[in-house]
Protein backbone atom coordinates (compact mmCIF):
# COMPACT_ATOMS: atom_id res chain seq x y z
CA UNK A 1 0.00 0.00 0.00
CA UNK A 2 1.27 3.45 -0.90
CA UNK A 3 1.83 5.62 2.15
CA UNK A 4 0.36 9.05 1.96
CA UNK A 5 2.64 11.57 3.54
CA UNK A 6 0.49 14.61 4.07
CA UNK A 7 0.82 16.53 7.32
CA UNK A 8 -2.70 15.55 8.33
CA UNK A 9 -1.91 11.90 7.83
CA UNK A 10 1.21 12.21 9.94
CA UNK A 11 -0.69 13.91 12.78
CA UNK A 12 -3.29 11.16 12.54
CA UNK A 13 -0.57 8.55 12.90
CA UNK A 14 1.03 10.27 15.89
CA UNK A 15 -2.31 10.55 17.71
CA UNK A 16 -3.29 7.00 16.80
CA UNK A 17 0.00 5.43 17.89
CA UNK A 18 0.05 7.40 21.13
CA UNK A 19 -3.52 6.44 22.01
CA UNK A 20 -2.93 2.78 21.20
CA UNK A 21 0.24 2.69 23.25
CA UNK A 22 -1.68 4.24 26.14
CA UNK A 23 -4.53 1.73 25.80
CA UNK A 24 -2.09 -1.16 25.75
CA UNK A 25 -0.34 0.20 28.80
CA UNK A 26 -3.53 0.81 30.76
CA UNK A 27 -4.68 -2.72 30.01
CA UNK A 28 -1.45 -4.23 31.23
CA UNK A 29 -0.52 -1.87 34.06
CA UNK A 30 -2.83 -3.45 36.65
CA UNK A 31 -0.96 -6.74 36.22
CA UNK A 32 2.41 -5.00 36.61
CA UNK A 33 1.17 -3.22 39.72
CA UNK A 34 -0.05 -6.47 41.25
CA UNK A 35 3.12 -8.40 40.43
CA UNK A 36 5.39 -5.61 41.68
CA UNK A 37 3.30 -5.09 44.79
CA UNK A 38 3.48 -8.77 45.66
CA UNK A 39 7.29 -8.59 45.77
CA UNK A 40 7.55 -5.72 48.21
CA UNK A 41 6.73 -5.10 51.85
CA UNK A 42 3.41 -3.88 53.18
CA UNK A 43 5.04 -0.68 54.47
CA UNK A 44 6.61 0.10 51.13
CA UNK A 45 3.26 -0.36 49.45
CA UNK A 46 1.57 1.87 52.03
CA UNK A 47 4.10 4.68 51.64
CA UNK A 48 4.61 4.74 47.90
CA UNK A 49 1.36 4.00 46.29
CA UNK A 50 1.75 3.14 42.67
CA UNK A 51 4.50 0.60 42.81
CA UNK A 52 5.83 -0.43 39.40
CA UNK A 53 9.40 -1.19 40.43
CA UNK A 54 9.65 -1.65 44.19
CA UNK A 55 12.60 -0.03 45.98
CA UNK A 56 12.43 -2.66 48.70
CA UNK A 57 12.22 -6.21 47.45
CA UNK A 58 10.70 -8.77 49.72
CA UNK A 59 9.29 -12.27 49.62
CA UNK A 60 7.32 -11.74 52.84
CA UNK A 61 3.97 -12.04 51.11
CA UNK A 62 4.95 -15.33 49.47
CA UNK A 63 6.45 -16.65 52.69
CA UNK A 64 3.16 -15.83 54.39
CA UNK A 65 0.88 -17.47 51.83
CA UNK A 66 3.05 -20.58 51.65
CA UNK A 67 3.34 -20.82 55.45
CA UNK A 68 0.14 -22.84 55.61
CA UNK A 69 -0.55 -25.55 53.11
CA UNK A 70 -3.81 -24.00 51.89
CA UNK A 71 -2.27 -22.54 48.74
CA UNK A 72 -0.12 -25.60 48.02
CA UNK A 73 -3.16 -27.83 48.29
CA UNK A 74 -5.23 -25.53 46.11
CA UNK A 75 -2.49 -25.32 43.50
CA UNK A 76 -2.25 -29.09 43.54
CA UNK A 77 -6.00 -29.37 42.94
CA UNK A 78 -5.88 -26.81 40.13
CA UNK A 79 -2.92 -28.44 38.37
CA UNK A 80 -4.44 -31.90 38.73
CA UNK A 81 -7.87 -30.82 37.52
CA UNK A 82 -6.32 -28.95 34.59
CA UNK A 83 -4.15 -31.90 33.50
CA UNK A 84 -6.68 -34.70 33.97
CA UNK A 85 -9.59 -32.55 32.90
CA UNK A 86 -7.93 -31.53 29.66
CA UNK A 87 -6.95 -35.11 28.90
CA UNK A 88 -10.41 -36.45 29.71
CA UNK A 89 -12.23 -33.71 27.79
CA UNK A 90 -9.93 -34.05 24.81
CA UNK A 91 -10.39 -37.81 24.66
CA UNK A 92 -14.19 -37.61 24.83
CA UNK A 93 -14.31 -34.71 22.39
CA UNK A 94 -11.99 -36.28 19.82
CA UNK A 95 -13.75 -39.66 19.93
CA UNK A 96 -17.21 -38.17 19.53
CA UNK A 97 -16.05 -35.65 16.93
CA UNK A 98 -14.46 -38.36 14.83
CA UNK A 99 -17.55 -40.53 14.92
CA UNK A 100 -19.69 -37.57 13.94
CA UNK A 101 -17.31 -36.56 11.16
CA UNK A 102 -17.99 -39.76 9.23
CA UNK A 103 -20.66 -39.11 6.66
CA UNK A 104 -21.75 -42.75 6.39
CA UNK A 105 -22.87 -42.86 10.02
CA UNK A 106 -26.56 -43.54 10.49
CA UNK A 107 -28.14 -41.05 12.92
CA UNK A 108 -25.33 -38.55 12.59
CA UNK A 109 -27.48 -35.49 11.97
CA UNK A 110 -29.78 -36.41 14.85
CA UNK A 111 -26.88 -36.55 17.28
CA UNK A 112 -25.48 -33.29 15.89
CA UNK A 113 -28.81 -31.60 16.47
CA UNK A 114 -28.82 -32.93 20.00
CA UNK A 115 -25.40 -31.36 20.57
CA UNK A 116 -26.24 -28.00 19.01
CA UNK A 117 -29.50 -27.73 20.91
CA UNK A 118 -27.63 -27.75 24.22
CA UNK A 119 -25.97 -24.50 23.11
CA UNK A 120 -29.39 -22.86 22.87
CA UNK A 121 -31.21 -24.28 25.83
CA UNK A 122 -30.28 -25.99 29.05
CA UNK A 123 -31.92 -27.39 32.11
CA UNK A 124 -30.56 -24.64 34.29
CA UNK A 125 -28.57 -24.46 37.48
CA UNK A 126 -30.83 -26.33 39.88
CA UNK A 127 -31.80 -29.38 37.79
CA UNK A 128 -28.14 -29.77 36.78
CA UNK A 129 -27.13 -29.52 40.42
CA UNK A 130 -29.67 -32.20 41.35
CA UNK A 131 -28.34 -34.54 38.66
CA UNK A 132 -24.73 -34.02 39.78
CA UNK A 133 -25.92 -34.80 43.29
CA UNK A 134 -27.81 -37.92 42.18
CA UNK A 135 -24.78 -39.38 40.43
CA UNK A 136 -22.80 -38.87 43.62
CA UNK A 137 -20.31 -36.27 42.48
CA UNK A 138 -20.90 -33.74 45.27
CA UNK A 139 -17.66 -33.15 47.17
CA UNK A 140 -15.69 -35.18 44.66
CA UNK A 141 -13.00 -33.57 42.52
CA UNK A 142 -14.53 -35.33 39.53
CA UNK A 143 -17.38 -32.80 39.86
CA UNK A 144 -15.03 -30.17 38.44
CA UNK A 145 -14.43 -32.25 35.31
CA UNK A 146 -17.21 -34.70 34.48
CA UNK A 147 -20.28 -32.39 34.39
CA UNK A 148 -18.48 -30.02 32.00
CA UNK A 149 -16.45 -32.65 30.12
CA UNK A 150 -17.49 -31.72 26.57
CA UNK A 151 -17.93 -28.20 25.34
CA UNK A 152 -20.35 -28.35 22.41
CA UNK A 153 -18.55 -25.51 20.68
CA UNK A 154 -15.17 -27.28 20.86
CA UNK A 155 -16.78 -30.51 19.70
CA UNK A 156 -18.13 -28.82 16.59
CA UNK A 157 -14.79 -27.18 15.77
CA UNK A 158 -13.07 -30.55 16.14
CA UNK A 159 -15.65 -32.33 14.00
CA UNK A 160 -15.33 -29.69 11.27
CA UNK A 161 -11.58 -30.11 11.29
CA UNK A 162 -11.84 -33.91 10.93
CA UNK A 163 -14.42 -33.51 8.20
CA UNK A 164 -12.15 -31.25 6.20
CA UNK A 165 -9.33 -33.78 6.09
CA UNK A 166 -9.07 -35.29 2.60
CA UNK A 167 -11.38 -38.31 2.23
CA UNK A 168 -8.70 -40.32 0.50
CA UNK A 169 -6.71 -40.69 3.70
CA UNK A 170 -9.37 -42.74 5.44
CA UNK A 171 -10.12 -44.80 2.36
CA UNK A 172 -6.52 -45.78 1.86
CA UNK A 173 -6.22 -46.61 5.56
CA UNK A 174 -9.24 -48.90 5.16
CA UNK A 175 -7.75 -50.59 2.15
CA UNK A 176 -4.58 -51.18 4.12
CA UNK A 177 -6.72 -53.00 6.68
CA UNK A 178 -6.84 -50.32 9.33
CA UNK A 179 -9.80 -50.51 11.72
CA UNK A 180 -11.74 -47.36 12.64
CA UNK A 181 -9.78 -47.17 15.91
CA UNK A 182 -6.49 -47.52 14.09
CA UNK A 183 -7.47 -44.91 11.53
CA UNK A 184 -8.37 -42.44 14.28
CA UNK A 185 -5.33 -42.90 16.49
CA UNK A 186 -2.65 -43.65 13.91
CA UNK A 187 -3.69 -41.41 11.05
CA UNK A 188 -6.40 -38.86 11.81
CA UNK A 189 -5.11 -37.60 15.17
CA UNK A 190 -1.49 -37.19 14.08
CA UNK A 191 -2.75 -35.18 11.11
CA UNK A 192 -4.92 -33.01 13.37
CA UNK A 193 -2.34 -31.86 15.85
CA UNK A 194 -2.94 -28.11 15.21
CA UNK A 195 -6.63 -28.47 16.03
CA UNK A 196 -5.90 -30.75 18.99
CA UNK A 197 -3.42 -28.22 20.38
CA UNK A 198 -5.89 -25.36 20.01
CA UNK A 199 -8.74 -27.19 21.67
CA UNK A 200 -6.52 -28.60 24.44
CA UNK A 201 -5.55 -25.02 25.25
CA UNK A 202 -9.22 -24.01 25.24
CA UNK A 203 -9.97 -26.75 27.75
CA UNK A 204 -6.86 -26.18 29.86
CA UNK A 205 -7.58 -22.46 30.32
CA UNK A 206 -11.20 -23.21 31.16
CA UNK A 207 -10.19 -25.79 33.77
CA UNK A 208 -7.54 -23.55 35.30
CA UNK A 209 -10.03 -20.69 35.51
CA UNK A 210 -12.96 -22.72 36.79
CA UNK A 211 -14.45 -21.64 40.08
CA UNK A 212 -18.23 -21.65 39.85
CA UNK A 213 -18.49 -25.45 39.59
CA UNK A 214 -16.29 -25.73 42.69
CA UNK A 215 -18.55 -23.34 44.58
CA UNK A 216 -21.64 -25.23 43.43
CA UNK A 217 -20.46 -28.79 43.96
CA UNK A 218 -17.68 -28.78 46.58
CA UNK A 219 -18.51 -27.97 50.18
CA UNK A 220 -15.24 -29.43 51.42
CA UNK A 221 -12.80 -26.50 51.43
CA UNK A 222 -9.77 -28.81 51.31
CA UNK A 223 -10.73 -29.65 47.73
CA UNK A 224 -11.04 -26.10 46.46
CA UNK A 225 -8.96 -25.04 43.46
CA UNK A 226 -6.81 -21.93 43.62
CA UNK A 227 -9.43 -19.67 42.01
CA UNK A 228 -11.86 -20.31 44.86
CA UNK A 229 -9.15 -19.66 47.45
CA UNK A 230 -8.35 -16.43 45.62
CA UNK A 231 -11.98 -15.43 45.87
CA UNK A 232 -12.02 -16.20 49.58
CA UNK A 233 -8.87 -14.23 50.30
CA UNK A 234 -9.33 -11.20 48.07
CA UNK A 235 -12.97 -10.72 47.21
CA UNK A 236 -14.72 -11.90 50.35
CA UNK A 237 -12.09 -10.37 52.62
CA UNK A 238 -12.45 -6.95 50.99
CA UNK A 239 -14.86 -6.03 53.74
CA UNK A 240 -17.73 -7.70 51.99
CA UNK A 241 -20.44 -9.70 53.57
CA UNK A 242 -21.71 -12.90 52.11
CA UNK A 243 -20.31 -16.37 52.11
CA UNK A 244 -17.43 -16.45 54.55
CA UNK A 245 -17.13 -20.19 54.99
CA UNK A 246 -13.63 -21.57 54.62
CA UNK A 247 -11.92 -18.38 55.70
CA UNK A 248 -10.51 -19.91 58.88
CA UNK A 249 -6.99 -19.96 57.52
CA UNK A 250 -6.94 -16.22 57.06
CA UNK A 251 -8.84 -14.86 60.00
CA UNK A 252 -7.63 -11.29 60.04
CA UNK A 253 -7.99 -9.31 56.81
CA UNK A 254 -4.87 -10.07 54.82
CA UNK A 255 -2.42 -7.34 53.84
CA UNK A 256 -2.58 -5.95 50.34
CA UNK A 257 0.75 -7.57 49.49
CA UNK A 258 -0.62 -10.96 50.49
CA UNK A 259 -3.67 -10.54 48.30
CA UNK A 260 -1.41 -9.53 45.44
CA UNK A 261 0.78 -12.59 45.92
CA UNK A 262 -2.23 -14.90 45.74
CA UNK A 263 -3.40 -13.15 42.58
CA UNK A 264 0.05 -13.67 41.04
CA UNK A 265 0.05 -17.36 41.94
CA UNK A 266 -3.33 -17.83 40.24
CA UNK A 267 -2.35 -15.72 37.20
CA UNK A 268 1.20 -16.84 36.49
CA UNK A 269 0.45 -20.16 34.76
CA UNK A 270 -1.80 -18.36 32.28
CA UNK A 271 0.84 -15.70 31.61
CA UNK A 272 3.40 -18.46 31.04
CA UNK A 273 1.36 -20.22 28.38
CA UNK A 274 0.10 -16.94 26.95
CA UNK A 275 2.47 -16.86 23.94
CA UNK A 276 1.07 -20.22 22.80
CA UNK A 277 -2.45 -19.16 23.61
CA UNK A 278 -2.25 -16.04 21.54
CA UNK A 279 -1.10 -17.96 18.51
CA UNK A 280 -3.76 -20.64 18.74
CA UNK A 281 -6.70 -18.78 20.22
CA UNK A 282 -6.88 -16.14 17.53
CA UNK A 283 -7.27 -18.99 15.05
CA UNK A 284 -9.82 -20.68 17.27
CA UNK A 285 -11.85 -17.50 17.68
CA UNK A 286 -12.14 -17.23 13.92
CA UNK A 287 -12.86 -20.93 13.51
CA UNK A 288 -15.85 -20.34 15.71
CA UNK A 289 -17.26 -17.78 13.36
CA UNK A 290 -17.42 -20.34 10.59
CA UNK A 291 -20.77 -21.99 10.48
CA UNK A 292 -20.76 -25.41 12.19
Amino acid sequence: MVQDKTAGSRIFDIVNYTLLALIGLITFLPFVHIIAGSFTTATELAQKQFVIIPSVWSLDAYRYIFSTNTIFRALGVSVGVTLFGTLFSMLLTALMAYGLSRKDLVGRSGIMFMVVFTMLFNGGLIPTFLVVKEVGLIDSLAALVVPTAINAFNLIIMRNFFQNLPDGIEESAKIDGCSDWGTLFKIVIPLSMPAIATISLFYAVTYWNTYITAILYLNDSTKWPVQVILRQIVILASGLTGDTSGMDDFVRPPEQTVKMAVIVVATLPILCVYPFLQKHFAKGALLGSIKG
Partner: protein
Protein backbone atom coordinates in the same frame (compact mmCIF):
# COMPACT_ATOMS: atom_id res chain seq x y z
CA UNK B 1 -9.38 -57.22 3.21
CA UNK B 2 -12.32 -59.35 4.31
CA UNK B 3 -14.12 -56.24 5.44
CA UNK B 4 -13.79 -54.64 2.06
CA UNK B 5 -15.05 -57.77 0.39
CA UNK B 6 -18.10 -57.74 2.63
CA UNK B 7 -18.76 -54.11 1.79
CA UNK B 8 -18.61 -54.84 -1.91
CA UNK B 9 -21.01 -57.69 -1.41
CA UNK B 10 -23.53 -55.24 0.00
CA UNK B 11 -23.10 -52.99 -2.99
CA UNK B 12 -23.64 -55.70 -5.58
CA UNK B 13 -26.79 -57.04 -3.93
CA UNK B 14 -29.23 -54.16 -4.29
CA UNK B 15 -32.18 -56.49 -3.78
CA UNK B 16 -31.47 -56.78 -0.06
CA UNK B 17 -34.32 -55.55 2.06
CA UNK B 18 -33.96 -51.97 3.24
CA UNK B 19 -34.01 -52.90 6.93
CA UNK B 20 -31.24 -55.44 6.65
CA UNK B 21 -29.27 -52.85 4.70
CA UNK B 22 -29.71 -50.28 7.49
CA UNK B 23 -28.75 -52.85 10.12
CA UNK B 24 -25.66 -53.72 8.13
CA UNK B 25 -24.62 -50.09 7.84
CA UNK B 26 -25.05 -49.64 11.57
CA UNK B 27 -23.19 -52.84 12.39
CA UNK B 28 -20.39 -51.99 10.01
CA UNK B 29 -19.85 -48.76 11.93
CA UNK B 30 -20.14 -50.26 15.39
CA UNK B 31 -16.66 -48.99 16.27
CA UNK B 32 -17.80 -45.45 15.47
CA UNK B 33 -20.86 -45.81 17.71
CA UNK B 34 -18.61 -47.04 20.47
CA UNK B 35 -16.50 -43.88 20.02
CA UNK B 36 -19.55 -41.66 20.22
CA UNK B 37 -21.00 -43.47 23.23
CA UNK B 38 -19.09 -41.75 26.08
CA UNK B 39 -19.83 -38.29 24.68
CA UNK B 40 -23.42 -39.28 23.98
CA UNK B 41 -23.86 -40.42 27.58
CA UNK B 42 -22.34 -37.14 28.76
CA UNK B 43 -24.92 -35.12 26.82
CA UNK B 44 -27.78 -37.32 27.99
CA UNK B 45 -26.80 -37.30 31.66
CA UNK B 46 -25.59 -33.74 32.15
CA UNK B 47 -27.62 -31.87 29.53
CA UNK B 48 -30.82 -33.76 28.73
CA UNK B 49 -31.73 -35.27 32.09
CA UNK B 50 -31.49 -31.76 33.65
CA UNK B 51 -33.82 -30.55 30.88
CA UNK B 52 -36.28 -33.25 31.89
CA UNK B 53 -35.64 -32.17 35.47
CA UNK B 54 -37.32 -28.87 34.69
CA UNK B 55 -40.56 -30.68 35.58
CA UNK B 56 -39.80 -29.82 39.20
CA UNK B 57 -40.75 -26.25 38.33
CA UNK B 58 -44.30 -27.58 38.23
CA UNK B 59 -43.97 -29.58 41.44
CA UNK B 60 -43.25 -28.95 45.09
CA UNK B 61 -40.02 -30.86 44.84
CA UNK B 62 -38.90 -32.60 48.01
CA UNK B 63 -35.44 -34.20 47.84
CA UNK B 64 -36.60 -37.29 49.72
CA UNK B 65 -39.60 -37.76 47.42
CA UNK B 66 -37.60 -37.27 44.21
CA UNK B 67 -38.76 -36.34 40.71
CA UNK B 68 -41.44 -38.97 40.60
CA UNK B 69 -43.25 -38.63 43.89
CA UNK B 70 -43.19 -34.90 44.55
CA UNK B 71 -46.68 -33.34 44.37
CA UNK B 72 -47.70 -31.45 41.21
CA UNK B 73 -48.67 -27.83 41.68
CA UNK B 74 -49.14 -26.50 38.15
CA UNK B 75 -48.15 -22.90 37.56
CA UNK B 76 -47.92 -21.98 41.25
CA UNK B 77 -44.22 -21.06 41.15
CA UNK B 78 -44.59 -18.99 38.01
CA UNK B 79 -47.51 -17.10 39.55
CA UNK B 80 -45.37 -16.44 42.57
CA UNK B 81 -42.51 -15.21 40.36
CA UNK B 82 -44.67 -12.73 38.47
CA UNK B 83 -46.21 -11.35 41.65
CA UNK B 84 -42.85 -11.12 43.43
CA UNK B 85 -41.59 -7.51 43.57
CA UNK B 86 -38.11 -9.03 43.24
CA UNK B 87 -39.04 -10.08 39.71
CA UNK B 88 -39.26 -6.47 38.57
CA UNK B 89 -36.02 -5.56 40.31
CA UNK B 90 -34.26 -8.40 38.49
CA UNK B 91 -35.85 -7.52 35.19
CA UNK B 92 -34.86 -3.87 35.58
CA UNK B 93 -31.30 -4.77 36.57
CA UNK B 94 -31.00 -7.10 33.60
CA UNK B 95 -32.26 -4.49 31.15
CA UNK B 96 -30.16 -1.67 32.60
CA UNK B 97 -26.99 -3.76 32.52
CA UNK B 98 -27.82 -4.81 28.98
CA UNK B 99 -28.14 -1.19 27.85
CA UNK B 100 -24.90 -0.34 29.64
CA UNK B 101 -23.32 -3.14 27.67
CA UNK B 102 -24.75 -1.91 24.41
CA UNK B 103 -23.90 1.74 24.96
CA UNK B 104 -20.51 1.50 26.66
CA UNK B 105 -19.01 -1.85 25.72
CA UNK B 106 -20.26 -2.65 22.24
CA UNK B 107 -18.61 0.29 20.38
CA UNK B 108 -15.23 -0.17 22.11
CA UNK B 109 -13.92 -3.16 20.14
CA UNK B 110 -15.04 -1.49 16.90
CA UNK B 111 -13.15 1.71 17.68
CA UNK B 112 -10.12 -0.23 18.88
CA UNK B 113 -10.14 -2.36 15.72
CA UNK B 114 -10.39 0.77 13.54
CA UNK B 115 -7.38 2.22 15.34
CA UNK B 116 -5.36 -0.98 15.06
CA UNK B 117 -6.27 -1.31 11.41
CA UNK B 118 -4.67 2.07 10.69
CA UNK B 119 -1.33 0.94 12.12
CA UNK B 120 1.14 0.20 9.34
CA UNK B 121 4.03 -0.97 11.50
CA UNK B 122 3.31 -4.66 11.99
CA UNK B 123 5.47 -5.04 15.11
CA UNK B 124 3.68 -2.16 16.87
CA UNK B 125 0.30 -3.58 15.97
CA UNK B 126 1.27 -7.02 17.25
CA UNK B 127 2.67 -5.49 20.44
CA UNK B 128 -0.57 -3.66 21.23
CA UNK B 129 -2.64 -6.72 20.34
CA UNK B 130 -0.52 -8.87 22.65
CA UNK B 131 -1.22 -6.50 25.53
CA UNK B 132 -4.95 -6.05 25.00
CA UNK B 133 -5.68 -9.76 24.48
CA UNK B 134 -4.18 -10.83 27.82
CA UNK B 135 -7.11 -10.09 30.16
CA UNK B 136 -9.40 -12.32 28.09
CA UNK B 137 -7.53 -15.38 29.36
CA UNK B 138 -7.85 -14.44 33.00
CA UNK B 139 -10.70 -15.87 35.03
CA UNK B 140 -13.34 -13.50 36.33
CA UNK B 141 -11.97 -14.22 39.79
CA UNK B 142 -8.63 -12.72 38.76
CA UNK B 143 -10.19 -9.74 36.97
CA UNK B 144 -12.45 -8.96 39.92
CA UNK B 145 -9.68 -9.60 42.47
CA UNK B 146 -7.32 -7.16 40.78
CA UNK B 147 -10.10 -4.58 40.59
CA UNK B 148 -10.92 -5.07 44.25
CA UNK B 149 -7.32 -4.70 45.38
CA UNK B 150 -7.00 -1.50 43.35
CA UNK B 151 -10.39 -0.07 44.34
CA UNK B 152 -10.25 -1.04 48.01
CA UNK B 153 -10.95 1.58 50.70
CA UNK B 154 -8.01 0.16 52.60
CA UNK B 155 -5.02 1.58 50.67
CA UNK B 156 -6.32 0.71 47.23
CA UNK B 157 -4.34 2.59 44.62
CA UNK B 158 -7.35 4.34 43.09
CA UNK B 159 -8.55 5.69 46.42
CA UNK B 160 -5.04 6.80 47.35
CA UNK B 161 -4.82 8.70 44.06
CA UNK B 162 -8.20 10.31 44.79
CA UNK B 163 -6.96 11.43 48.21
CA UNK B 164 -3.75 12.76 46.66
CA UNK B 165 -5.79 14.86 44.26
CA UNK B 166 -7.84 16.20 47.14
CA UNK B 167 -10.99 14.12 46.76
CA UNK B 168 -12.81 11.97 49.27
CA UNK B 169 -12.36 8.21 49.28
CA UNK B 170 -15.10 6.33 47.46
CA UNK B 171 -16.43 2.99 48.60
CA UNK B 172 -16.62 1.54 45.09
CA UNK B 173 -17.09 -2.05 46.18
CA UNK B 174 -20.11 -1.63 48.36
CA UNK B 175 -22.27 0.96 46.73
CA UNK B 176 -25.28 0.98 44.49
CA UNK B 177 -24.07 3.81 42.26
CA UNK B 178 -20.67 2.32 41.48
CA UNK B 179 -21.77 -1.20 40.73
CA UNK B 180 -22.76 -0.64 37.10
CA UNK B 181 -19.74 1.46 36.07
CA UNK B 182 -17.48 -1.07 37.79
CA UNK B 183 -19.18 -3.98 36.03
CA UNK B 184 -18.90 -2.38 32.61
CA UNK B 185 -15.27 -1.30 33.14
CA UNK B 186 -14.36 -4.89 33.96
CA UNK B 187 -16.19 -6.16 30.89
CA UNK B 188 -14.32 -3.64 28.73
CA UNK B 189 -10.99 -4.48 30.32
CA UNK B 190 -11.42 -8.21 29.82
CA UNK B 191 -13.16 -8.41 26.46
CA UNK B 192 -12.59 -5.27 24.36
CA UNK B 193 -9.20 -6.36 23.01
CA UNK B 194 -10.37 -9.84 22.21
CA UNK B 195 -13.51 -8.44 20.61
CA UNK B 196 -11.43 -6.73 17.92
CA UNK B 197 -10.41 -10.03 16.28
CA UNK B 198 -13.56 -10.53 14.28
CA UNK B 199 -13.59 -6.90 13.10
CA UNK B 200 -9.90 -6.98 12.17
CA UNK B 201 -10.52 -10.11 10.12
CA UNK B 202 -13.34 -8.35 8.29
CA UNK B 203 -11.13 -5.29 7.69
CA UNK B 204 -8.30 -7.42 6.31
CA UNK B 205 -10.62 -8.44 3.48
CA UNK B 206 -11.19 -4.88 2.27
CA UNK B 207 -9.75 -4.16 -1.20
CA UNK B 208 -6.73 -1.80 -0.80
CA UNK B 209 -7.61 -0.25 -4.15
CA UNK B 210 -10.58 1.46 -2.50
CA UNK B 211 -8.29 3.40 -0.19
CA UNK B 212 -6.02 4.38 -3.04
CA UNK B 213 -8.92 5.68 -5.06
CA UNK B 214 -10.18 7.62 -2.04
CA UNK B 215 -6.74 9.17 -1.58
CA UNK B 216 -6.69 10.25 -5.21
CA UNK B 217 -9.96 12.01 -4.53
CA UNK B 218 -8.31 13.78 -1.60
CA UNK B 219 -9.95 11.93 1.27
CA UNK B 220 -7.98 12.21 4.49
CA UNK B 221 -7.50 9.29 6.90
CA UNK B 222 -10.61 9.94 8.98
CA UNK B 223 -12.70 10.22 5.85
CA UNK B 224 -11.26 6.95 4.56
CA UNK B 225 -12.27 5.25 7.80
CA UNK B 226 -15.72 6.78 7.66
CA UNK B 227 -16.42 6.12 3.98
CA UNK B 228 -14.56 2.88 3.35
CA UNK B 229 -13.65 0.90 6.47
CA UNK B 230 -16.87 1.37 8.40
CA UNK B 231 -19.24 0.64 5.50
CA UNK B 232 -17.18 -2.45 4.66
CA UNK B 233 -17.63 -3.96 8.12
CA UNK B 234 -21.19 -2.75 8.54
CA UNK B 235 -22.73 -6.17 8.03
CA UNK B 236 -20.41 -7.70 10.66
CA UNK B 237 -21.39 -4.95 13.09
CA UNK B 238 -25.08 -5.48 12.41
CA UNK B 239 -24.85 -9.23 12.92
CA UNK B 240 -22.88 -8.92 16.14
CA UNK B 241 -25.32 -6.31 17.39
CA UNK B 242 -28.29 -8.53 16.66
CA UNK B 243 -26.65 -11.52 18.30
CA UNK B 244 -25.84 -9.37 21.31
CA UNK B 245 -29.50 -8.49 21.62
CA UNK B 246 -30.30 -12.20 21.48
CA UNK B 247 -27.98 -12.64 24.44
CA UNK B 248 -29.61 -9.95 26.55
CA UNK B 249 -30.16 -12.34 29.45
CA UNK B 250 -26.59 -13.65 29.43
CA UNK B 251 -24.83 -11.01 31.46
CA UNK B 252 -22.29 -13.37 32.95
CA UNK B 253 -23.27 -15.25 36.07
CA UNK B 254 -19.62 -16.01 36.90
CA UNK B 255 -18.81 -12.31 36.79
CA UNK B 256 -21.78 -10.80 38.60
CA UNK B 257 -21.81 -13.48 41.28
CA UNK B 258 -18.39 -12.20 42.37
CA UNK B 259 -19.49 -8.57 42.51
CA UNK B 260 -22.73 -9.22 44.35
CA UNK B 261 -22.90 -8.31 48.03
CA UNK B 262 -25.56 -7.27 50.48
CA UNK B 263 -24.91 -3.58 49.78
CA UNK B 264 -25.46 -3.66 46.02
CA UNK B 265 -28.05 -6.44 45.73
CA UNK B 266 -30.66 -3.85 44.77
CA UNK B 267 -28.88 -3.18 41.46
CA UNK B 268 -26.71 -6.29 40.99
CA UNK B 269 -29.18 -9.16 41.36
CA UNK B 270 -29.92 -10.79 38.00
CA UNK B 271 -31.82 -13.94 37.06
CA UNK B 272 -28.85 -16.30 37.44
CA UNK B 273 -27.73 -14.98 40.82
CA UNK B 274 -31.32 -15.04 42.06
CA UNK B 275 -31.70 -18.67 40.97
CA UNK B 276 -28.52 -19.51 42.85
CA UNK B 277 -29.53 -17.69 46.03
CA UNK B 278 -33.12 -18.89 46.09
CA UNK B 279 -32.26 -22.42 45.00
CA UNK B 280 -29.02 -23.51 46.57
CA UNK B 281 -28.80 -21.08 49.48
CA UNK B 282 -32.44 -21.19 50.56
CA UNK B 283 -33.32 -24.63 49.21
CA UNK B 284 -36.33 -23.50 47.18
CA UNK B 285 -35.56 -25.95 44.40
CA UNK B 286 -38.87 -25.80 42.57
CA UNK B 287 -39.31 -22.03 42.71
CA UNK B 288 -35.77 -21.31 41.53
CA UNK B 289 -36.09 -23.87 38.75
CA UNK B 290 -39.20 -22.02 37.60
CA UNK B 291 -37.23 -18.77 37.59
CA UNK B 292 -34.40 -20.40 35.62
CA UNK B 293 -36.85 -22.00 33.18
CA UNK B 294 -38.55 -18.67 32.54
CA UNK B 295 -35.16 -17.14 31.81
CA UNK B 296 -34.08 -19.97 29.50
CA UNK B 297 -37.30 -19.88 27.49
CA UNK B 298 -37.18 -16.11 27.00
CA UNK B 299 -33.48 -16.46 26.16
CA UNK B 300 -34.18 -19.18 23.60
CA UNK B 301 -36.86 -17.08 21.91
CA UNK B 302 -34.55 -14.07 21.81
CA UNK B 303 -31.64 -16.03 20.34
CA UNK B 304 -33.82 -17.67 17.70
CA UNK B 305 -35.38 -14.32 16.85
CA UNK B 306 -32.00 -12.63 16.67
CA UNK B 307 -30.64 -15.36 14.45
CA UNK B 308 -33.66 -15.14 12.18
CA UNK B 309 -33.16 -11.38 11.97
CA UNK B 310 -29.45 -11.79 11.24
CA UNK B 311 -30.29 -14.10 8.34
CA UNK B 312 -32.93 -11.67 7.18
CA UNK B 313 -30.39 -8.86 6.85
CA UNK B 314 -28.46 -11.09 4.51
CA UNK B 315 -25.87 -12.68 6.76
CA UNK B 316 -25.41 -16.28 7.62
CA UNK B 317 -26.77 -17.13 11.04
CA UNK B 318 -24.82 -18.88 13.72
CA UNK B 319 -26.99 -21.96 14.10
Amino acid sequence: MQDTAANNAVVVQPKLKKNTDLMRRILKNRALYLMILPGFLFFVIFKYIPMAGIVIAFQDYQPYLGFFNSPWVGWKHFERLFSDPMFFTILRNTLVLFFFNLAFYFPVPIILALMLNEVRREYFKRFVQTLVYIPHFMSWVIIVSISFVMLSMDRGIINELLVMMGFEKVNFLMSNEWFRPMYIMQVIWREAGWGTIIYLAAMAAIDPGLYEAARMDGANRLRQIWHITLPSIRSVIVVLLILKIGDVLELGFEHIYLLLNSMNREVAEIFDTYVYTAGLRQGQFSYSTAVGFFKSIVGLILVMGANWLAKKVGEEGIY
